[in-house]
Amino acid sequence: MVQSMKRYVGNVGNTTLTVLKGLRVTLINLFRTPITIQYPEVDIRQKDLKAFGYKGPLGPLPDRFRGFLHVNPEICIACDLCMKACPIDCIRIESTKIDKTTIQGKDGKAVNKVKHPVRFDIHLGKCMYCGLCVEPCPTGAISFSKEFEGATSTLNTLVVHFAEPKGLPVREATIL
């Protein structure tokens, strides 16, 4: 009898105590700085989020951020390594032979350029931003940008033409 009374009172006391402890935690958190970044008011592409009035612990986009792919056709040697590396085949390259020039490579070595891309399409709607295409590129022509806003009303606009095909009908160019 005494034992069960003790347990009864203990249950009530323990429940009340733990509930109060929990309430204390949430009350403390009520006055903490929220972690939310108010996108798009706070531009996370910028280095300093504090300039936008953000006080939380999160940081801006890092240097290695994998946003949309970007291609510089001027230094592209059309070696097709990125096209072969892509697991989902969202890159399409067509090239023509040109006179040999040399280009400064990613690792400092000179790279010969004998081909120039006449067509360099990337389907950003298919791309899964894995980065396998960026790694083998000898010249750094294909790289990640910090852009990530890709909402669009038509799928075709997600096919980006980094090198415009000349003489090809535009409609064909959009199909990968």
């Binding site: 249950n11 009530v12 509930v19 929990g22 309430l23 935690v25 949430t26 009350l27 958190n29 009520l30 006055f31 903490r32 929220p34 972690i35 939310t36 108010q38």
Partner: protein, 352 residues
């Protein structure tokens, strides 16, 4: 002729009160949805609504408009008449209580002499509405939610009722205004029923817990337990009908806070010098609303802190803990009144 005029005036007065109270209810419930989201947001390291209007204050208006404009949807296999009727019953159960809520010393729609009894009785209509909605939806989740709701409301009415008896016993009146009048004294503070004796203090907590369960709030939100029953009884509801459930739910938070503030925390009682600063006892109204606001915040606070109990535990809490405790409190108060007639706890060694 004169009798018609009199009747007409009474009806007109009632209609005006009804319009005013429905506006109050809509505003209060709307603001509470905003407050809930804001409190939840900041407790959870988020911001809560902040897009519509300054600090997101107009969010509930936007939500209301959205719900109002939504398609009127009734599932094809639902029992259409009951499905339509359910939300209104729930709404009425909640709205009718506003008729007796004492907003101030002189601001009350009607001061029924069976006020508290009326509150208990009219709120149980809601259970019927919920059961109706859950059954008529022809959805198994909704049915489970409705059954839980019925079991819960019926069980928890007992501790609520018994703890309501304590202020009734202390005041010798069932009228809410009568109970508040009886709490006069001691700087407008010591006369409160919570401070009358240890038993009434305990009854306050027991009653509040039971009332939180009565209105299906966390940790007793089993009828709409999101992670178990998807959305419980209102799974199939959308648009205006859902808005009625929503309105009733948030109005209920306000109602229980007001009632608890009125019958345990002294209502609009104030020391006499402060009483007459504003006409109509408006200072008292603000004091009462402030007390209610604190209780409302605690109800919201509890929701964002606690996990949910299980069905069997819910019944256990009711029958093994709250009901016996409420009964002990009632008997204790009675014994106290017999042993120390007319004396409150703090005035034990003097006269109250």
């Amino acid at each position: 002729m004169e009798i018609f005029l009199q009747e007409g005036l009474v009806l007109l007065k009632a209609a005006l009160w009804a319009v005013a109270l429905s506006l109050v209810m809509a505003l209060v419930a709307g603001f509470l949805t905003y407050l809930e989201r804001k409190v939840a947001g900041h407790m959870q390291a988020r911001l809560g609504p902040n897009r519509v209007g300054p600090y997101g204050l107009l969010q509930f208006v936007a939500d209301g408009v959205k719900l109002f404009l939504k398609e009127d949807l009734i599932p094809s296999d639902a029992d259409a008449p009951l499905f339509r009727f359910g939300p209104y019953l729930v709404f009425v159960g909640s709205f009718a209580v506003f008729a007796v809520l004492p907003f101030g010393e002189r601001i009350v729609a009607t001061d029924l002499n069976i006020g508290l009894f009326y509150v208990l009785a009219i709120t149980s209509i809601e259970t019927v509405g919920l059961l109706m909605a859950g059954w008529a939806s022809n959805n198994k989740w909704a049915l489970l939610g409705a059954m839980r709701s019925a079991a819960q409301s019926i069980s928890y009415e007992i501790p609520v009722g018994v703890s309501f008896l304590i202020p009734i016993v202390l005041a010798g009146s069932m009228s809410l205004q009568g109970i508040i009048h009886a709490q006069a004294g001691g700087f407008g503070l010591l006369g409160w029923n919570v401070f009358h004796n240890p038993f009434s203090l305990a009854a306050f907590f027991v009653g509040c817990t039971a009332m939180v369960a009565e209105i299906n709030r966390t940790p007793f939100d089993l009828p709409e337990a999101e992670s178990e029953l998807v959305a419980g009884y209102n799974t199939e509801y959308s648009g205006m009908r859902f808005a009625f459930f929503f309105l009733a739910e948030y109005a209920n938070i306000f109602v229980i806070s007001m009632i608890a503030a009125a019958i345990f925390l002294g209502g609009w009682q104030l020391p006499s010098p402060f009483k007459d600063i504003l006409p109509f006892g408006l200072v008292g109204s603000f004091v009462l609303l402030a007390k209610a606001a604190v209780l409302v915040f605690i109800v919201l606070w509890l929701r964002w802190t606690l996990p949910r109990v299980r069905v069997d535990q819910l019944m256990e809490v009711c029958w093994k803990y709250l009901t016996p405790m409420a009964l002990v409190c009632l008997m204790g108060t009675a014994v106290w009144m017999w042993a120390f007639p007319g004396r409150i706890f703090f005035g034990l060694f003097g006269t109250a």
